[in-house]
């Protein structure tokens, strides 16, 4: 390790300990609370926050530490959660009295079909044996097959047909007592003009957007013009979505800085 790394690490450790001591004395006391541990945890959370943010400058040992800790802890978290909620909570009470008792969950009743998924699961684990690898594909085939079957009609319904039928808009909206098109152009009529423009844009936008996605036809002539209009509409949308999302992302940063400034440093109230 280079000397500068050592110095920075030492400084960080010292600051951490100082913050821990101060935090221990400032966390509010209430019966069950353990200020010493709680002080450590808040300081540690702040340390991890800063460690991740330091990545913006460049890769460094603190980020590496936080990253590896995060990956390890989260993988174990998923495993533990899955084990307790799914296996203990859902599977064991349906297949084994003994296992349920051992984990302290009430046994429901025996259901024969719940034996199938553990068998498939064990088949899947056969991958780890050098010779049984081929059998693990049975479980994969089951998962991939059911997924494909599930998606086949369901996407045609929700995404497809619903989207098509909601494009059926009259291109001209009804005139509501304003008279013919140009004779009585008032504010209300301009509203209707916008409504017409809106309907036409939706109609043409969907149509040309679809034409852009044609793969087996050359995008030339009228077809090419439509396809180009389609990609323009797409780009307008992408730009707008990007611009709109900025707001939400800044809110996240505000949340994080508030944690650092308020919960940890106590600069703002």
């Amino acid at each position: 390790m280079r000397r500068i790394t050592l110095i920075v690490t030492a400084v960080v450790v010292v600051l951490f300990i100082i913050s821990w001591i101060i935090k221990t004395n400032t966390v509010p006391e209430d019966g069950t609370f353990r200020p010493f541990i709680q002080g450590f945890l808040v300081t540690f959370a702040a340390f991890l926050t800063l460690a991740i943010m330091s990545f913006l400058y460049r890769d460094n040992p603190f980020y590496k530490f936080a990253e590896h800790l995060y990956v390890g802890v989260s993988a174990a978290y998923a495993m533990s959660l899955g084990f307790w909620t799914t296996l203990v909570g859902n599977l064991f009470p349906r297949i084994s009295q003994n296992l349920s008792d051992w984990f302290g969950v009430p046994f429901l009743h025996y259901e024969w079909h719940f034996v199938i998924p553990p068998i498939l699961g064990i088949i899947l684990l056969m991958r780890l044996s050098p010779k049984g690898g081929w059998i693990s594909r049975w479980a994969l085939a089951f998962i991939v097959g059911t997924t494909a079957g599930l998606n086949l009609p369901r996407f045609l319904r929700s995404d497809f047909i619903e989207q098509i039928s909601s494009t059926f808009l009259p291109l001209l909206v009804q005139w509501q007592g304003v008279g013919p098109f140009f004779s009585n152009f008032s504010l209300a009529a301009s509203g209707q003009f916008i409504a017409i423009l809106t309907n036409i844009t939706i109609f043409l936008g969907v149509l040309c957007g679809l034409i852009y996605f044609f793969f087996s036809k050359e995008h030339k002539g009228v077809f090419g013009t439509a396809s180009r209009f389609g990609i323009w509409v797409l780009m307008v949308t992408f730009g707008a979505s990007f611009g709109y999302t900025v707001m939400g992302r800044i809110s996240l940063l505000v949340g994080r800085l508030t944690f650092l400034l308020k919960d940890w440093l106590g600069i703002i109230s």
Binding site: R127, L152, D159, Q163, V206, M235, V236, A240, G243
Partner: protein, 207 residues
């Protein structure tokens, strides 16, 4: 046989689930629910495979003393700690240490990682929003119009901008998303069909 049986399973399972969609009867609902529960349970077993792979990669790094191997120890320690704290003897998911780890390690890391987006959205905008072509200009302008709503010093222009921005967000946005979604719907159906019919079988591997 090593290849035919899995393809048969794919075909039967796929066809079955596709047909199930059209059958409202309770029996069909039961089967659907069972299959959903099964896949979740199989997923937990698969997670064991995942953890095994994780340990294998980390251990080999440590063994070979490859670059940054020290941090693999941190990762393994985090993994082991979290699993141990969730053991029944510590109180499972309700154990103090498990919850503390969750609240003071996972939550802050998650939120901070997420908040990095505020920075990256800025750098991406700076890097990519350059008017080097007509299309790029459209992209840039529509983003600027939407973002300008946040500028308080626009005067009457602000009102017009707000109107244009909400029109863009409602109308072309709707049209484009619809076109994309319809396309995606077709793509999904085509891919699902290829899988069920066994045309697409690369994921099966080879022996």
């Amino acid at each position: 046989m090593k290849r035919e049986i899995p393809l048969m399973i794919v075909f039967v399972a796929g066809l079955f689930m596709a047909v199930q969609f059209f059958v409202p009867h309770a029996t069909s609902e039961y089967i659907y629910e069972f299959v959903m529960e099964w896949t979740i349970i199989i997923g937990i077993f698969a997670l064991a495979l995942g953890i095994w792979s994780f340990i294998k990669v980390a251990a080999s790094k440590i063994q070979r003393r490859s670059e940054n191997w020290q941090y693999s120890i941190v990762a393994l320690a985090g993994l082991a700690g979290m699993i141990i704290f969730a053991l029944p003897w510590f109180g499972g998911l309700e154990s103090y240490m498990f919850r503390s780890f969750f609240n003071n390690v996972m939550i802050p890391l998650h939120a901070t990682m997420f908040s990095l987006l505020a920075f990256f959205i800025a750098s991406a905008a700076f890097r990519a929003f350059r008017a080097h072509s007509a299309l790029a200009t459209v992209l840039l302008l529509s983003a600027l119009i939407v973002m300008l709503r946040f500028n308080p010093y626009m005067g009457p222009l602000g009102d017009i901008d707000a109107d244009i921005a909400s029109w863009i967000l409602n109308v072309p946005n709707l049209a484009a998303k619809r076109a994309i979604i319809i396309g995606i719907g077709l793509g999904i159906v085509a891919t699902a069909l290829k899988v069920i019919l066994g045309i697409e079988r690369t994921y099966m591997g080879k022996d």
